[in-house]
């Protein structure tokens, strides 16, 4: 069957135009599902109890299967509870609140859910950072370094300037974070635009440089009095306001992130500059022929990308931690790549993907403490999802589905050209 007939058949099956949304969502959803299945396999095959049970499989097959199921249920169950909270506890707490007016239990029961929402905030921004890079054909792996630098800059403004009202201090701190990240992203962008050096290696180098720089700052100039390598706590006027009393940490950063996502959408799709960036990403030679300045657009895209990642670090500091410690930005780099890929580099997709990631990560800490499954299984699932989304053919091959050819984004090119 030639390509056209296959496409027509597939379109007919999925309902033509209206099915386009279905098609766009199908691959990411299946990717996540398959990733979770693989994750379950990894959890089960490395669980000591299950391995022991399979050792005596033929004597007691029921036990082996039961143990397998238990391991998966415990792991993913605690993942769910860590992400959303225990539904039974929540309902009970609501009843309790209506009966006695005591807020405490209610707050505690929704704590996991609000923590997940708080965790989603930096993922949205960091994912947007990588997505903007992708839209210009640039692979920004430096999100982790830009995140860290942004956090340090905003923390510095946060703790060192005293006596400002919050409506000046807070935006200033956020701006400082964005500016720090912007500079950190602009350097590899500039090098790529002017010398052609590939941004993959340069952003990774900037990451390592930022780790060393952060270490020096946290042990030296920015160190709070005491033993630990942390910055002083930021002033109250620089903190992002929280919605609920302690210990809930859900704050306005979440709303800010959503607003920024909408802003990025508007910028990319409704402005000339955004169009230029996307054009350069889609076809640099064509864009150059049309008169667009490739150098300017590369630098602009990387600067915006860095600024977003820096803002992510800023919201994390100003909203959640209120100080910076070592290994602060650990993991956000690769997570944001997966989020951008999963969200197909579109701001709204990124928000959804970040949502998923926030819940997963939040739940994973609970999974580690309740079920003893190391956090890093999430990284494995993440890597697999990246592969599945980047190679839809693998998903198609596993599930034997036919899809109409959708436009594939060209993500990157070779080394410096």
């Amino acid at each position: 069957m030639d390509r056209n007939t296959t496409e027509k058949k597939a379109e007919k099956k999925t309902g033509g135009q209206g099915g386009k949304l279905f098609q766009t969502l199908l691959i990411p959803v299946l990717s996540i599902f398959t990733g979770l299945v693989f994750g379950a396999i990894v959890i089960v095959t490395t669980d000591a109890t299950v391995i022991a049970a399979y050792g005596s499989f033929f004597r007691a097959p029921g036990t082996a299967l039961l143990d397998t199921w238990n391991a998966i249920a415990l792991a993913y169950g605690s993942l769910f509870v860590g992400a959303f909270g225990n539904p039974a506890t929540i309902i009970q707490a609501i009843h309790g609140y209506y009966a006695t007016g005591d807020q405490k239990d209610l707050l505690l029961s929704i704590y996991p859910f609000t923590e997940s929402l708080a965790a989603i905030t930096p993922y949205i921004l960091a994912g947007l950072a990588v997505a903007v890079g992708f839209k210009c054909g640039l692979f920004n792996i430096g999100a982790e370094g830009q995140f860290g630098i942004g956090a340090l800059c905003s923390a510095f403004v946060g703790y060192s300037i005293k006596g400002l009202p919050w409506f000046i201090h807070l935006p200033l701190a956020l701006l400082a974070g964005a500016a720090g990240g912007a500079i950190w992203g602009a350097i590899p962008g500039y090098l790529k635009a002017v010398t052609g050096a590939h941004e993959v290696v340069n952003t990774i180098m900037m990451n390592y440089i930022s780790f060393s720089l952060g270490d020096w700052l946290l042990n030296g100039p920015m160190k709070a009095p005491g033993f630990r390598p942390v910055t002083p706590v930021i002033q109250d006027s620089a903190m992002l306001p929280r919605f609920f009393p302690a210990p809930l940490r859900f704050n306005w950063g979440f709303i800010l992130a959503l607003a920024i996502a909408a802003l990025v959408y508007w910028f990319l799709f409704k402005t000339t500059m955004g169009l230029e960036i996307r054009a350069v990403g889609a076809n640099p030679d064509g864009a150059r022929y049309a008169g667009m300045n490739i150098v300017k657009n590369f630098i602009l895209a990387m600067t915006i990308s860095g600024a977003l990642a820096g803002l992510a670090g800023a919201t994390q500091v100003l909203g959640i931690d209120h100080w910076v410690s070592q290994n602060f930005s650990s993991g956000y780099g690769f997570d944001s790549i997966a989020i951008a890929l999963l969200g197909q580099s579109h701001p709204f997709g990124v928000v959804l993907a970040a949502g998923l990631w926030g819940f997963l990560r939040s739940g994973a800490t609970n999974m580690q403490s309740m079920a003893g499954v190391p956090l890093d299984v999430i990284s494995i699932i993440q890597g697999l999802v990246v592969i599945f989304v980047a190679a839809p053919a693998v998903i198609r091959w596993i599930y034997h589905i036919r899809l109409a050819r959708t436009e594939t984004t060209v993500l990157t090119r070779g080394w410096g050209k």
Binding site: F139, A197, M205, I209, D376, T412, G414, W415
Partner: protein
Amino acid sequence: MATNSLPVKERKKYSRNRLVIGLVLIGTGLLILLLFGLHLQAGQVATYALTPRGDTNVIPIPDLTLPVQTSIYVLALISIFLGAWHLAREIRSSGALMGVVAFCFVAAFLLCATAGKSMDLVGVLNTSMVRATPIALAAMCGVISERSAVINIGLEGIMLSAAMGAVTAATITHNLYIGLVAAILTGAILGAIHAVLVIRFKVDQIVSGTAVNIIGAGATNFLSARFLETNVEKLNNSGVFPNITIPLLVKIPILGPMLFENNLIFYLTIFLVAILYVVLFYTPWGLRTRAVGEHPKAADTLGVNVFLTRYVNVIIGGMLAGIGGAYFTIGSIGRFDRLMTNGKGFIGLAAMIFGKWNPIGAYAASLIFGFADSLQVKMQILNIPIPSEFLQMAPYIVTMIILAGAVGRAHPPAADGAAYEKQ
């Protein structure tokens, strides 16, 4: 009669590039003078040990003593002189020129740092070569893979996985060679996964490489947390390849202790670099590989199996990276720590680019990075005023500087990065 004027293309324009390079060289010379030369007292000497202490295999050589201030002035003068010459009469090979001046700068820095103290120079050189080993192997993996036009940036993931595979296998079987084989196998498997994704499923090569990195890091962290950290004796305690001294060659002054007293992986690396060079440029297989990398369609027309060539190259590359991973554990400290590769895979990529996709060039570049790495450790011991964190940044900054200068003039294989569609 028409008046003669030079045709336009024969008129030699004073190129901006030459001006910039000349000025930079002179500037470097002045920098050497100001930064390093001026604030030293005259008469200070630096002592460089040319024989490793306590080494009985080697013929002892007297230490090298250099008057610091004079030497620094000399180096500064050389840089300024070369810069001026380049401005006046262009020196053809500007790459070599910059290399010489860079050497002067580093030497001056070293002299300034060791003024009044002594340093084991041969030891530093030896450490440079040893630390360059994983970088070189990663670079070799990159070279062989990219020569057939497949970008492989999954080196961190491959090296981490191979490192863990090596140490675990070696600990369980009490045999380091089996550990090495395990590392090679792990590298081959991960290389195969990358190859399948990129060749069969036409995934973007950089995305696939990143996924390999993510999974490699995640899986090794997971398994380390799940098994290795709780069972150190049984799973994470392999011992290390012993140093093998080559009897006669080690007696060569300076080069002897530097080159001929290292372990198996070190010798293997040098051997593999030479083999790769010969294979790539002097065998039919190498020719086919390079053809596939430059113009796959033409190679295909001539009957070369583009896909098979790429598969084999990427898998062999994976094996090389696997050996590189083995270095970290069974070639160095005998246990696995999380994320222990610390960016060496990416530095290997930079070495590959700097070496212009040539095995020997890439090895030379790795030596430079190894030197930066070992210098950084030595400087911390020497207690110089620069904070250790800044010294830690040095290899990475060097990478960026080199990439900025090198890439423009280094051309990757023409088809690098593009999936091949058979038509």
